[in-house]
Assembly symmetry: C2
Homo-oligomer: 342 residues x 2
């Protein structure tokens, strides 16, 4: 269990030069300052000794950890692993390491984990926690490069990577209207959620553009869970029996809506069509296979990482960038023409 780490000094001794020169030779940004022949000898010696720079030493000296804080609600929510891999893959290629933490959608936990990441001296943050309030976001962004995932603020003042929620929800609504549905309801996300909020707005507009009413057909859940959606959808479907289709704000809520329908003898898709959002893994083999709006999870993560890396490079304050990706509709078995129009 002995840890023998070779250092710059060891390499220097082997080559017979000063450690500082070894440092310069090995660092791509300073290698041009040193005699190419020496660089070659240093490289060879370093390789032969399995020299690997100590990131704690260089981090201490340079005040950069080459580490990025990644804050998500919950890794076991199937929406996130794809995004996290996009982040990991992209950061790794640039020599950065993500430090991943979960908030469980609890603002206090979020404050705590962000503090712990700051204690770890991360160089920047990727935040995938889509709350509408953002108590410490402004302060954080003054001190660190921050990229928001799946979430923007009203002011658009923070760099972000999002999908076009308006477009995604419109795809779902258009699809249902195309099938002949008129009485379409929305099961929205929790009130504190920014994506939930946006998708509800998008639903309103899409319906309006078709000249359809949303009155008494919009409900919001307490939590992004199948159970919460089941209760909410059940109440809504009971109160508004004319409803023939539901646009849910994400896949879990769609599954809840389908379960609610089933409990009311409204089989999906015959008596009730339901669309989801996200296209989580296995949504193609649930019963019935879920028609849903697919968001490019890996791409979102990759773009967020790229954006943050560019922020890390530019000391100059370039204008705040927003990357917007386009979702697509995946038509499966949970949607069908209504039994009868109304």
């Amino acid at each position: 269990m002995t840890r023998v780490a070779t250092t710059l000094k060891d390499v220097a001794k082997l080559v017979g030069i000063h450690p500082a020169t070894v440092s310069r030779a090995l660092n791509p940004r300073t290698a041009h300052l040193v005699n190419p022949a020496t660089v070659a000898r240093v490289r060879k010696a370093a390789a032969s000794l399995n020299y690997v720079p100590n990131p704690m030493a260089s981090g201490l000296r340079t005040a950069r950890s080459h580490t990025i804080g990644v804050v998500i609600p919950d890794l076991t929510n199937p929406l996130f692993p794809g995004m996290v891999r996009g982040i990991q893959d992209t950061l790794a290629r640039a020599g950065y390491t993500p430090l991943l933490v979960n908030t469980d959608n609890d603002p206090e936990v979020e404050a705590h984990v962000v503090a712990s990441l700051r204690a770890r001296r991360v160089d920047g943050f990727i935040l995938a926690t889509a709350r509408r309030d953002h108590p410490f976001l402004l302060e954080l962004s003054e001190k660190f490069p921050v990229v928001l995932i799946n979430r923007v603020t009203e002011s658009g003042q923070f760099p972000s990577v999002t999908t076009d929620e308006m477009h995604g929800i419109r795809l779902a609504v258009d699809h249902l209207v195309g099938l002949g549905h008129r009485a379409i309801a929305h099961i929205g996300g929790p009130a504190w959620s920014s994506t939930g909020h946006e998708r509800a707005q998008a639903f309103s507009r899409a319906m309006k553009s078709h000249g359809l009413s949303t009155a008494r057909r919009m409900a919001a859940v307490d939590a992004w869970s199948v159970e919460s959606a089941r209760d909410t959808a059940r109440a809504l479907l009971t109160a508004q029996p004319a409803i023939t289709a539901v646009v849910a704000a994400n896949d879990q809520l769609a599954l809840g809506a389908i379960a609610a329908g089933r409990s009311l003898k409204l089989r999906c898709p015959r008596a009730l069509s339901v669309t989801g959002y996200n296209d989580m893994p296995f949504m193609d083999i649930v019963d019935p296979p879920l028609t849903t709006v697919r968001v490019p999870q890996h791409d979102i993560g990759a773009e967020a990482a790229r954006l943050l890396l560019s922020l890390l490079r530019d000391d100059a304050q370039s204008p705040v960038k927003h990357v917007r990706l386009t979702p697509e509709l995946i038509e499966r078995g949970s949607t069908a023409p209504p039994l009868r129009g109304d």
Copy 2:
């Protein structure tokens, strides 16, 4: 974007004492060496300045990063997020940070990511990559505390956290036999996989203990994927039409077996019963709901982290520990009595 970090020196100046004393006062392991009154003053001053120790500085000095390398095949495989959260939650409480990397089941990638974790000076490793060969495992374990997840070596020489595969597979076989099945097949994992290997062995023994034959009823897939399982199961079911039930080595393979049966007009569960292994998210709402062996994902991760932490504490070489957790059978809709015995 100015980074102002307070240091020990700042705190010392405020209190009017030497930085070394501040260090001692703030470190729980040395606080007893310092006057309680001073400790109190230091704590107050540190809090007022928002002092947070710089882990790069202390890490450089102590040669410990308080960081753990966690190596998994692929985060987007639903088996792993639960385990990772178990690891994260447990390590965080002990002040350790996991560094998560994926191998995509590629030994070369694995070698690369392990090297990058060593470069980052992790204090130990949790390896969830269940290959039967282990080229660098011995060397790695000589230099670092290592805990294996979901995998043991024949010699049992490395600390590990596993589930009782023998028991889990037996639960599935007993369940099917109890339903009246006799011609039970096994769709096994890839040849390189240690869990695949063990579950196949477990299947053989469980069948033997019931006096049932496994001849020509065991196949292995090329990869842990639904597609690979579909092809393998299709071939097996075509060649051995008497088969009435399949024990799959994991949930994906079970889904593939169900799809294969469907393509052969063998509806699950009426004409073909299928069991899975792991109980991934949403296996309760696929079509049909999957009967499967549930492994306690979060617990596995948590136990692995605990075990590694204990290794980190004990310099003494205590005997190699193996934690074995017990899986349970979750009976759902993919299993039923056979149409007719044989």
